[in-house]
Amino acid sequence: MGYKGKFKVWRGDASGGDLKDFEVEINEGEVVLDIIHRLQATQAPDMACRWNCKAGKCGSCSAEINGKPRLMCMTRMSTFEQDETVTVTPLRTFPVIKDLVTDVGFNYAKAREVKSFTPPKDLLPGEYRMQQIDVERSQEFRKCIECYLCQNTCHAVRDHEENKDNFSGPRYLMRVAELDMHPLDTADRKNSAQEEHGLGFCNITKCCTEVCPEHIRITDNALIPMKERVVDRKYDPLVWLGNKIRRRTSSDA
């Protein structure tokens, strides 16, 4: 049941590179990552790729397969025709380090800029009480495996390097929403969502949702509700009036 398949894999580094052709054995039930591993073991021992769990849980093996951002470990070879050439390239939005490995430092930098969970000061460990229905919204976002496929796909940075400073990307806007929806978080995150993390850059094309391997409804459940919360704050006439009269800062409210 095995067959010889055709692969094109991008090889190179920051200074440049190109697609290399490979012919490689493919067996029943295999995924793209299995084939990359076979190439390493038999034809290209120094071919760089990241992977850890090989079960869709760690989000390490992100790449673009035939142009689509995917996890290599969750892309089955049976989804391709046997005579189809499978092309694997690194994530386009991040700088290449080598072969399929990119510098994803952008994401770690953005993660640090999100104000951490801020619990009520008087609540001791063991005293936290939350209802299941109230934690479920944030729990959906905490399913995120940080594969950065959404970050890679979002056109606000994919095609616009210049936006990287001012836009945290879907993953970290979702993180802001997750904390804002946490039943016990006390920080105000509306202004920072808009002003520091660039929520306004998102124009709801839902590309992030489409590529999410965890099927998190990033746009519908995190970004749009977050936009609504920001709007409620920014454009509510009463809040506007209150701000005018009392010069409220972002930390009260």
Binding site: D13, A41, A44, I97, Y108, Y128
Partner: protein
Amino acid sequence: MTDNTENTENAVGTKSTEPVERHSYDVVVIGAGGAGLRAAIEARHAGKRVAVISKSLFGKAHTVMAEGGAAAAMGNVNPKDNWQVHFRDTMRGGKFLNHFRMAELHAKEAPDRIWELETWGALFDRTKEGKISQRNFGGHEYPRLAHVGDRTGLELIRTLQQRVVALQQEDKASTGDYEANLRVFAETTIVRLLKDASGRIAGAVGYYRETGQFVVFEAPAVIMATGGIGRSYTVTSNSWEYTGDGHALALLAGAALVNMEFVQFHPTGMVWPPSVKGILVTESVRGDGGVLRNSEGKRFMFDYVPDVFRKQYAETEEEADRWYDDQENNRRPPELLPRDEVARSINSEVKAGRGTPNGGVFLDVSTRLPAEEIRRRLPSMYHQFKELADVDITAQPMEVGPTCHYVMGGIEVDPDTQGTVVPGLYAAGECSGGMHGSNRLGGNSLSDLLVFGRRAGLHAAEYIDGLGTAGKPAVAAADVDAALEEALAPLANADGENPYTLHHELQVTMNTLVGIIRKPEEVSEALTKLEEFKPRRTKVGAAGGRRFNPGWHVALDLRNMLIVSECVAKAALEREESRGGHTRDDHPAMSSKWRQINLICSLNEDGSGIDLKHQPIPTIRPDLLGLFEVSELQKYFTDEELTVLGDSAEPVAEAKPAGEAKPAAEPEVKSEPATESKAEAKSEPEAKPEAKTEPAPIPGQSNGEKAADTAADKVAEKSTEKSATAEAEEQTAQAEAEAQTEDAETAAEEK
């Protein structure tokens, strides 16, 4: 092998021309999984400057793979739960080989460690009262596992990761630098630990995977938190990182490993398609009602309840099914026996020809819960099977079989401080040993790494405070040079043997010859092969440059995998009994004599291999022994050991002179600080010869008719005469009995 011309600028550097980056920290934590991050957080809380070394990206550690939950006796679901019950379950699960003090600390401190996570943002599933919900799991008497669906490990790693970020934000606010006091070195591999002239830890040397450049860390304290050894096996649930780095680095630095023969094969890994073979199927499937069936449709686990557990497990399907709703009046389903029992049972069914077409058994939850409920409780499993195997677990059974999952053995540590015999070297989590005895209960790993990760961080910080004016240990330049030379060797030998080939041969060897069921001749054969692999390992080559070169990385990891494999095989050959994660074909019974012995691995004189010695197991404090019924203890302990219990143990003690019993134990029990006691143990005449005496086989109780004696056993068990011990051993053998005739199993399915 040759298309790497574009990397020529990364040509091999030499140590003479190459400047090596240096960093100085108080504590270096090697490993960024749960134990490592928890240790780093604690050391940072204690005011230390901390570096965390992560082999992969930050937040990708193997901890994310943990599915079921973290065991902690919070009593949120069943208020009868408390640390004593958790302690008992842990000791039973480990068949009383656990370091009692670690099991005690673990049971006592786990709830605080879980509650603390909530203050850092963790969102566990809730009870109706809004507390943390707790689920049932194998070997746990009450619902005990704090969980988030079936992705608890991810929640844990993310929470700890975000706690690290929170601390970095504090430092940014006070110093202007996020990394002033706590820095994560991602994609960095340590190749050697460094010591000063007096033998204290002085630091570590490693390389950045991204560039291949070397880096030296100077630090008086190093905490190993590198996880397990599963990559030495073909069928494993473990990620590429699990190459036994911590075990090997510590051993090379002079530390000892304890009980490396105990390797846990998780009963339920995927078996089809071949490329996903070994990927974990969480125990929660069974905890939430899933049942195991053979190809005849029979719930076979009822046939495999060993006598030592018979009291706690249902005898009929009806009783087992009632248990999910009424745990007060029914006993647990046998699918929830500890993992070693279930794994061996599955193995036996398959060998008896009652397996599935792909060589597993069926795990069915589709007929047990409504589809909606399955998707809610087991979302990752639903997706995993849907996407990787085209199986809809709400409509079809899964096919599962055992997979190498966890190593109970590990770096020998002091139970209170996690310190090793090497001053300044600590270990926590899977790479440390003792806590789980011969078999770990599901859910005890996530709580283990929190409890002992914290303790390691705390005591490493205290150790540094205690150094006082004596000053920091100094790194010797020659040691750094030697480490660099060793690491660069494969690159200088580009035409050498393919490291992937050697790795594969090692995996097949361990999987087929030192797998679930061990035969002495096969283990010996494995040891012979390992000796052949050693010289081959030094001649492997890595084509290409130093920048992110996986071939080179595998070549370097091989050293560690060979070391831990030798430890596992040597200890497996030595221990002539079957207990927990070690099943000997020729010694199918558990032996009370062997229970008194820890097997200790250390590096031999010339560094060419492993020395193995016997060391007496620490004596369990009488107050902890008192938590068990004597009749249960008699199944595990020798009569003389139980004399400390006084009157209640009299019937068994009578024959033995009381003097033989171990001294009743130090009441305050800092118990066996590894640092001191080990030195003594070395010079002590070893208990060895005596340990070898296998208890004579007891007639009666023959194997085979388990089903028949199920009912009878329960009654028989209550009468606790002297033969109980022997009987227990015999009974344990039953589960394995069928397995014996066959071979080193699952491995054979290697494609």
